[in-house]
């Protein structure tokens, strides 16, 4: 991915910063400049919103034929996560094997390496989701 394109989204990639429409209150991730609900009336009324990173698993799959850059992690788990704020996003699930994962399991966002542009290019970081990390804070 081209450097400017990656850099532009780092706030979203690193800390799940989405947006909120101040007219209707709806939260979006990734960020939007137009609220699909308020449409034109939302222009200039959208502000940044940091999502909590907690959610539950809606669906998941173990990928055996990987996307470029993910070969070292095969099989890796891709999932749809329904965040606490009520919206769903796509992300990798880590720290668990597919056989132990279930739809509905709670997860928490973790900061991981997504990939890199070869051995000399920049490194891509971003959000993934871990059921273990969720458990680390709910059990004293």
């Amino acid at each position: 991915m081209a450097v400017p394109r990656y850099w532009r989204e780092v706030k979203s990639r690193y800390r799940l910063q989405g947006s909120q429409c101040t007219r209707c209150g709806r939260i979006y991730f990734p960020k939007r400049s137009v609220c699909p609900y308020c449409k034109r009336q939302s222009i200039d009324k959208i502000v940044p919103y940091n999502l909590s990173g907690e959610g539950t698993v809606e669906s998941f799959t173990s990928v055996y034929e990987p996307m470029g850059g993910f070969e070292m992690q095969v099989p890796y788990i891709m999932a749809l996560i329904k965040l606490k704020e009520g919206i769903t996003i796509t992300g990798q699930i880590v720290d668990i094997e597919e056989k132990d994962l279930k739809i509905g399991m709670p997860v928490k966002m973790v900061f991981r390496k997504i990939g890199e542009d070869g051995k000399s290019g920049i490194i891509y970081y971003g959000y993934k989701f871990s059921p273990e990390m969720y458990n680390s804070i709910s059990t004293p």
Binding site: M1, R5, E9, P30, E58, S59, F60, T61, S62, V63, Y64, E65, P66, M67, G68, F70, P75, Y76, M78, A79, L80, T88, I89, T90, G91, Q92, E98, I103, I114, Y124, G126
Partner: protein, 389 residues
């Protein structure tokens, strides 16, 4: 708006066409269609071309001019328009061509869909394919097209108790039909057992749940219905051609176990053509993954929502049933050269409605439907065709 008919069809063989280039397969399909309609280039008013990724696959953009040029038509300086809508590029090119003739702007138009997937390695093809999902928020994070459909499959199994066997049966039907079709990429029959035992791609989908990467091209000729008999004894009327869209990202959908874009396009198409789902004799549907075929059957209302698994296991949708699904072999069996698919689905329906489908003929077929999907259901095109007497 005047009525439009398909008066000529043509297709290359679909498969790994190592010694054929993109332009060669594009022209072959176009010329076959023109021969079928017995027209010459001086009859043509425009070319609509549908291809998804020539830029990444063969480093070539501006392909409409390229195809026209290599068909020998550059000196005619015809309008040539290229349409892109992911895997539905061919179907959308057809839709645009249909509108242009229905509106009266053009009279005789050739629509071609072509794609050459095998010039690049499978890894590269996989990445190019994922470009129809949300690059930034799905593909960049590790999603492949297969993993997207796998998420749908898992959810469909969770919500409706859909079985792996039912999904496998979709591939079995496609292969069975493909083995009767000389232009199919796949020529072998398979069993449910074969599908279940195949190596995993993205669980629960395995290798035999996924359409192959194919090369191929197909073309149709359109003209106003009232002059169609000049070109063929069996003009096929386009009773409806509807496009509908949805969010690009799968995670933004209302319900990932349906493609709203197909549901809405189909409802409108049934409405416009005054045909209900039970009137459809043959349907060429999107089965790039076995689960996609199940969604298509439900979204096109050939099955109640959540019941398609049961129906498939009871033997429905196979050749001879009403509707007979993917008599061509579908994407799984016939092949999946992205831009060509939307047009080759039409070629199959026309063949069936004309009674020219050979060993896979559905007897008495008079109404057919095509459904082509781009991205993970972010765009659907539904066409309904009828035999006219």
């Amino acid at each position: 708006m005047r009525e439009v008919a398909i008066v000529g069809i043509g297709s290359t063989k679909f498969g790994e066409l190592w010694d054929r280039s993109f332009r060669e397969i594009g022209i072959e399909a176009g010329l076959k269609a023109m021969n079928d309609a017995k027209i010459t280039s001086s009859d043509l008013d425009a070319l609509y071309a549908g291809t998804m990724s020539t830029g990444s696959l063969i480093n070539q953009e501006n392909v409409a001019s390229l195809l026209l040029d290599y068909s020998g038509l550059a000196s005619d300086h015809l309008p040539a328009i290229r349409i892109e809508a992911g895997e539905a590029s061919g179907a959308l090119a057809f839709h645009q061509a249909y509108i242009s003739v229905a509106s009266g702007y053009y009279n005789i138009v050739v629509v071609g869909g072509a794609e050459k997937l095998t010039d690049v390695s499978e890894d590269v093809a996989r990445e190019i394919t994922s470009a129809t999902s949300d690059q930034e928020w799905e593909s960049f994070l590790g999603s492949t097209q297969a993993s997207q459909y796998a998420l749908i499959a898992k959810r469909h199994m969770h919500q409706y108790n859909t079985s792996r066997e039912a999904m496998a049966q979709m591939s079995v039907i496609s292969h069975a039909n493909a083995s009767l079709n000389p232009t199919s990429h796949m020529q072998n029959k398979i069993t449910i057992e074969d599908v279940l035992k195949a190596p995993p791609v993205a669980t629960p989908l395995g290798m035999l749940d996924c359409a192959p990467m194919s090369d191929g091209a197909a073309a149709v000729i359109l003209c106003p219905l009232d002059i169609a008999k000049k070109f063929t004894d069996t003009p096929i009327k386009v009773s409806a051609s509807v496009v509908s869209t949805d969010t690009i990202a799968l995670f933004n959908r209302r319900d990932i176990t349906s493609f709203d874009s197909t549901i809405l396009a189909a409802k409108k198409a049934y409405d416009i053509s005054n045909k209900s789902p039970d009137k459809i004799d043959i349907a060429e549907i999107n089965d790039n993954y076995s689960i996609a075929g199940l969604l298509s059957v439900e979204d096109l209302m050939f099955s109640e929502k959540g019941k398609v698994s049961k129906n498939l296991l009871e033997g429905k949708y196979a050749l001879g049933d009403k509707p007979s699904i993917n008599t061509s072999g579908g994407l799984k069996g016939h092949g999946q050269p992205y831009g060509a698919v939307g047009v080759s689905q039409l070629v199959e329906v026309v063949s069936q409605l004309r009674g020219e489908a050979g060993k896979r003929q559905v007897s008495g077929a008079s109404v057919g439907l095509t459904q082509t999907v781009g991205g993970i259901g972010s765009v659907s095109v539904v066409n309904i065709l009828e035999r006219v007497n």
